[in-house]
């Protein structure tokens, strides 16, 4: 356990060396949010609510969805399939820890770095420019923090699975691209799921992607109330359990087939 915490800390420290690169990223994200903001202003055109969100909630949704992406997003899929492919994984096998847990811990360290140096200042910057409404209820902040952490777990486990599958099917780019498109489309990052036509809403609701962005961002806007909040967390927890079992199963099979390359 101490080992995994230390891996997290080290990754955070390693990222500090690159923090300057991130300042320009904040500006880019604010510009993103701005362009979506103006599009949505036109779409709402004076209407009170669309897809279950008011225009003000929509602005908040956009800002928080993009900024929390900085926390849950990572490249574990590519890292894992590359490390297996080029044999770097050999070095990980001589360490007394579980490779996947170590990777997850590192990714969390990176996520926390981006939360501190990117998402938090970014959200503050966005709030200066656009009418973002922060929750006034302290409980909502706590639920949102929990939901964001769970979102990280869902997305990272997804990446682990995609990385392993990509390696074993020898189809790196295809699998990783498909995963990327699915996450972008169904996580609610670009379009809250409530805006999909009724017939298209059902599918995403049965898929794990909503647990990555849609649910935590909804929590933040205050659009979910009482038991709905707990249901959102439960949906996320459910998917984490399912994905964790799948990842562990794949990894066990991988161990038997793994051929460490090179050297």
């Amino acid at each position: 356990m101490a080992a995994y915490l230390e891996m997290m800390r080290i990754r955070f420290l390693a990222m500090l060396a690159y923090r300057v690169n991130y300042y320009s990223g904040v500006v880019i994200y604010v510009v993103y949010i701005g362009s979506y903001y103006f599009i949505w202003q036109a779409v709402y055109a004076g209407r009170a609510a669309l897809g279950g969100l008011t225009a003000a909630q929509m602005t908040t949704y956009l800002a928080v969805a993009w900024m929390s992406r900085a926390f849950w997003f990572n490249n574990l899929d590519r890292e894992i399939s590359n490390e297996i492919r080029d044999g770097t994984v050999a070095v990980q096998f001589i360490r007394p820890y579980n490779y996947l847990v170590a990777k997850l811990a590192g990714a969390l360290g990176e996520g926390l770095f981006r939360l501190a140096f990117f998402a938090a200042p970014g959200l503050a910057a966005a709030a200066l420019v656009f009418p973002v409404r922060f929750p006034s209820d302290a409980r909502l902040w706590v639920v949102f923090a929990a939901a964001t952490l769970l979102a990280f777990a869902v997305n990272s486990l997804f990446n682990v699975i995609a990385g392993l599958v990509a390696f074993f099917t020898l189809n790196n780019t295809g699998i990783l691209h498909t995963k990327r498109v699915l996450v972008d489309l169904f996580s609610g990052l670009f379009l809250p799921l409530g805006f999909y036509p009724a017939w298209a809403q059902d599918a995403p609701r049965w898929l794990p992607f909503q647990a990555i962005s849609y649910l935590p961002s909804l929590v933040f806007t205050g659009a979910l109330r009482g038991p709905e909040l707990w249901r959102a967390l439960a949906v996320q927890a459910f998917w984490i359990a399912v994905l964790a079992v799948a990842a562990a199963w794949l990894w066990r099979r991988a161990g038997r087939r793994l051929v460490v390359q090179g050297g």
């Binding site: 080992a3 070095v91 096998f93 001589i94 161990g255």
Partner: protein, 306 residues
């Protein structure tokens, strides 16, 4: 009890064989043809605690593959294997605490952080108590002269500097068994000498067992009373280094002749230690457990000073 005990240890790789041309590629889609390569072919190997064994052979002989099995990275295709009392790949997490590994071709330090931070991370990973960690780090940093390197990020180190750090990293948790796969590759003479001195010293001081592969026979002469020669996955010779020496010939020539298929021990002066012998000849038994002869040490030490 032996620290490494391998019986009929075998590793086969299945290689995908592609057919030539477009039509071939199309047929490959439906029926894949595989070719089996026996990288390690039923070898028997026993190493006693405290030994320093040179594991040599031409490119592609199967040295790295053997080391990967011995360290639990690869699962053997067949055979029995017991290292430090464990079946490496089966009890991996417990087993790897007892060994140290250095791959000359691959870094195991964290690229972006200072060497010292990498070491501290290893301390936590292996759960080394603070006092013990400080004592070991002092010792390793002293002998390997790491002083100024500790605060430099790994990506800024030269190959030789990095390799010294890699060695320290492999030993921070005090393993009783050290595997080195081409630890001196690409290093200049001075660094090579320092690393040889260092390995001799930890072997003498802590009785650390060492199995090392190299293409530099001077490494072998300086360090290994016993050599195992491998070619195409089979052991050609296992015994005392002295037993294959011949009057008037350098080790280089002798080993080249063996790689080229000449029978081992055919030359004048070859003792009874030779041939491929699972039972192991007198050469090894006589040498067993002892460190390297001091003459070798002085010879190379003097070279380093000059």
């Amino acid at each position: 009890m032996a620290i490494i005990e391998a019986r009929q240890l075998t590793k086969e790789f299945r290689k995908f064989k592609s057919r030539p041309g477009l039509a071939g590629a199309f047929r490959d889609l439906f029926t894949r043809r595989y070719e089996t390569v026996r990288a390690v072919d039923a070898i028997d190997l026993t190493v006693e605690p405290g030994e320093v064994v040179g594991y040599i052979g031409p490119n592609g002989a199967g040295k790295s593959t053997t080391i990967k099995m011995l360290t639990g990275i690869l699962v053997p295709t067949a055979g029995h294997l017991l290292v430090n009392g464990c079946v490496p790949h089966r009890e991996r997490e417990r087993f790897v605490r007892t060994i140290g590994v250095v791959f000359g071709q691959r870094s195991q330090l964290w690229w972006d952080i200072a060497v010292r931070e990498s070491f501290r991370l290893l301390q936590r990973i292996y759960g080394v108590p603070d006092a013990e960690y400080r004592r070991r780090l002092d010792e390793l940093a002293g002998v390997l002269e790491l002083g100024d390197l500790l605060d430099v990020p790994v990506r800024k180190l030269s190959l030789g500097q990095r390799m010294r750090c890699e060695l320290a990293a492999a030993l921070l948790h005090g393993p009783s068994l050290l595997f080195l796969d081409e630890p001196t590759i690409g290093l200049d003479v001075v660094v090579k000498l320092r690393i040889r001195d260092f390995l001799r010293e930890i072997n003498a001081r802590h009785g650390t067992t060492i199995l090392l592969t190299t293409h530099d026979l001077a490494d072998i002469e300086a360090l290994c009373p016993r050599v195992v020669i491998l070619d195409r996955g089979r052991i050609l010779y296992d015994g005392a280094l002295d037993a294959i020496r011949r009057d008037g010939q350098g080790l280089e020539e002798v080993v080249r002749a063996i790689y080229q298929g000449e029978a081992v021990g055919g030359g004048a002066g070859a003792g009874p230690g030779g041939r491929r012998v699972p039972e192991l000849g007198g050469g090894r038994a006589a040498e067993g457990g002892s460190a390297v002869e001091p003459e070798g040490g002085r010879q190379y030490g003097a070279g380093g000073a000059g």
